[in-house]
């Protein structure tokens, strides 16, 4: 399929003709400013919570206290502005409910991101007194290569898929992993993902095959692909991008970076839309002249 012709020939030298061929670096400058300046101010704006976002929060809220949760970190630093705020807020909600957390990563950078999110959640004053202990309350099993194969193999044997944890301890020796054989031993699965392997593979090879319940945090790019799984019930909740993080922070009443970045989002979106509108005016004006 061919999109509309992009080479707008300009014979006249009017403002709009020139504008239609604007040097894109001018747009770049506007975008940079639109994102940078709002960070200096706090922009108050109401944040509407989508059904998927609310479902995500409620799915966790409805878990029995002390549930055992498997979290998969399938993203790398570039996606962390979107996923890290979600992960931190999720950890906090889970620890509040005394859940036991087991973290894995299908991306090599995942476990490292998980450590950073855990560290920030554990610093929270809420949990200082709880004395959450590694190996008992949470564990990080590290990265394993093999993509969907790893997901599938965990369905039959998790300790053999991850023989040792991130710190080099034998997985089977961790108190939290005692009695854990496969997905059936987890009450819930949470996936933070920004691509392949990610939520789609988890749905295909874990949810569809083991019947586990799962929610996911996705980048805004990846989310559209996975909405269908939310609608079909294969996912119980879904957070999409920075807005999802802001929604979740709003619903769970723990405003953080997600909420504060939304101001810059609003301004930059307005700038992009402004350029689209001006571009269309330029297009129609120069077409009429021709």
């Amino acid at each position: 399929m061919s999109p509309p012709d992009t080479s707008t020939t300009s014979s006249g030298q009017g403002f709009w003709e020139k504008f239609a061929l604007l040097d894109r670096r001018i747009i770049f400058a506007f975008i940079f400013l639109a994102l940078a300046l709002p960070l200096f101010y706090t922009i108050r704006q109401p944040i509407a919570v989508s059904p998927e976002g609310r479902a995500y929060y409620e799915a966790i809220e409805n878990l029995p206290a002390g549930s055992k949760i498997l979290l998969s970190f399938d993203f790398d630093p570039p996606s962390s502005p979107e996923l890290q705020p979600m992960a931190e807020a999720t950890f906090k909600q889970l620890f509040t409910k005394n859940c036991k957390l087991v973290v894995i990563g299908l991306w090599p950078q995942g476990p490292q991101q998980a450590e950073k999110a855990l560290a920030s959640a554990l610093l929270d004053t809420l949990f200082k007194d709880k004395k959450l202990e590694y190996g008992v309350d949470y564990a990080n099993l590290g990265f394993m290569a093999g993509n969907e194969n790893v997901i599938k193999k965990m369905n039959s044997d998790i300790p053999s898929t991850f023989p040792s944890d991130y710190k080099g301890n034998a997985t089977a020796s961790l108190p939290i992993m005692r009695g854990v054989k496969n997905y059936k031993n987890f009450d819930f699965i949470i996936d933070f993902s920004s691509g392949y392997p990610g939520t789609r593979e988890w749905v295909q090879f874990c949810v569809d095959r083991s019947g586990s319940k799962m929610i996911a945090g996705n980048t805004a790019v990846q989310a559209p692909e996975n909405y269908q799984y939310f609608h079909s019930g294969q996912l119980k909740g879904l957070l999409a991008g920075m807005k999802g993080a802001a929604e979740y922070e709003t619903v769970s009443n723990q405003p953080g970076k997600g909420v504060s970045f939304m101001g810059a989002q609003s301004v930059s979106h307005l700038i992009v839309m402004l350029f689209v509108i001006l571009g269309n005016i330029a297009y129609f004006v120069s077409r009429r002249k021709r």
């Binding site: 399929m1 061919s2 108190p175 009695g179 559209p224």
Partner: protein, 390 residues
């Protein structure tokens, strides 16, 4: 039988309870044990009626533990757990196929006191030879149909040429090659970030062969930077083969089909550089693409190239549609590869896939009708049961 590994963590669940001894809870009742269906064995399903003390205010039941033994009077060892509220669990620790087991369930209260149920069993864990869940049956039928349709059409395509409708992007491919020749600038071909086994990459190989052959005939230059170390030598083979077919093997150079790096953004950084330095007349992006799609397409536009894209990655299609001159959407990429190669295997596959679509559409329409008529006509209620029921 294995040591009772479970005892330790289970006890740790109660670390926070300092309540003084209170009344022990009532046990679960109606405990039943039977072999888990549709599994490889070594598991037994248990179900019960929950303890009435789950919701009492003082010292409620907070979890269950399953114990197993080879005989009703031999010692029972833990083999599974369940949280409060659950009515079933699967016992799996230490069970062996073909041996009878007896089971007990313990209801644990807040203060670690517990009550044991009656003994249930025996149940003999064993593996099954066929998964009888309805969805598995559906998948099996679907698979048999599709495999049959594709194979039948491949055989048909071997006997005579089958019709595939022309696809808009295909002419653009030849035009793009012509443009490069006229302008005396090279052509850039990116096979994407997929592995050699990805359907999109395999389709890209076919198109690459076609492009390389034309390039060899017109005596222009082709640049193929590779991402995957396994896709890389295949690209070399494909291009070399095309040059030989075109009768100009001497024009092929290993330097033009090269390996870059196997990490997404470093790869993009490098290809960006190639585009701005070599200024190709036409860029092909065929195969699997991820976030880099728009960076490539915008940089290519900046370099003044005509761009033709095709991918089976849902999200990236949108970027290619917006930023490229021609885009093969999803399955169109596979169809284009079949159309260009004319290989009966590929053409037959496309035909078989079309049969699949006909069945998909028919089932959807029948299904929509059946939602209306299921109460009136038996056929439709049966249909709905077959396709919609769990």
């Amino acid at each position: 039988m294995r040591k009772p590994l479970l005892a330790v963590p289970f006890a740790s669940l109660f670390l926070f309870s300092f309540a003084s001894a209170q009344a022990p809870p009532a046990p679960v009742t109606n405990l039943e044990a039977k072999d888990t269906p549709n599994d490889r064995g070594e598991q037994v399903d248990l179900s019960w009626t929950v303890s009435p003390d789950e919701n009492r205010a003082a010292n409620p039941v907070i979890g269950y533990q399953i114990l197993a033994a080879p005989a009703p009077d031999s010692p029972f060892v833990p083999t599974g757990t369940a949280s409060a509220g659950s009515k079933q669990a699967t016992a799996k620790d230490g069970l062996k196929n073909g041996k009878p087991y007896y089971f007990k369930a313990r209801a644990y209260a807040m203060d670690s006191s517990f009550a044991e149920s009656e003994v249930a069993g025996p149940a003999v864990p064993k593996g099954q030879w066929w998964n009888t869940k309805p969805n598995y049956t559906r998948i099996f039928i679907g698979m048999v149909f599709l495999v049959g349709a594709i194979l039948y059409n491949i055989l048909r395509a071997k006997k005579k040429e089958l019709y595939i409708r022309p696809i808009a992007g295909i002419n653009a491919i030849d035009e793009g090659i012509g443009r490069a020749t006229e302008m005396g600038r090279p052509i850039l071909f990116v096979c994407g970030l997929g592995a050699a086994s990805d359907a999109a990459t395999i389709a890209a190989f076919s198109v690459l062969g076609r492009v390389a052959q034309k390039v060899a005939q017109y005596q222009s230059k082709l640049i193929v930077p590779s991402y995957d170390p396994i896709v890389f030598p295949i690209c070399q083979d494909v291009v070399k083969g095309a040059y030989i077919n075109a009768g100009r093997p001497e024009a092929y150079s290993d330097k033009d089909v090269f390996f870059v790096v196997q990490d997404q953004f470093p790869y993009v950084a490098a290809v960006n550089g190639i585009m701005l330095r070599e200024k190709p007349a036409t860029n092909f992006y065929l195969g699997k693409f991820f976030a880099e799609s728009l960076i490539l397409a915008e940089t290519g536009f900046q370099a003044g190239s005509i761009q033709i894209a095709g991918t089976d990655e849902l999200i990236q299609m949108a970027f290619f549609i917006v930023a490229c001159d021609f885009t093969l959407i999803g399955e169109e990429l596979f169809a284009a590869s079949a159309y260009l190669s004319k290989e009966p295997e590929q053409v037959g596959s496309i035909k078989g896939q079309d049969w699949g679509k006909v069945v998909f559409a028919s089932l959807t329409i029948l299904g929509v009708i059946s939602v209306f008529l299921e109460s009136k006509i038996h056929f439709f209620s049966l249909f709905k049961k077959l396709f919609v029921a769990e």
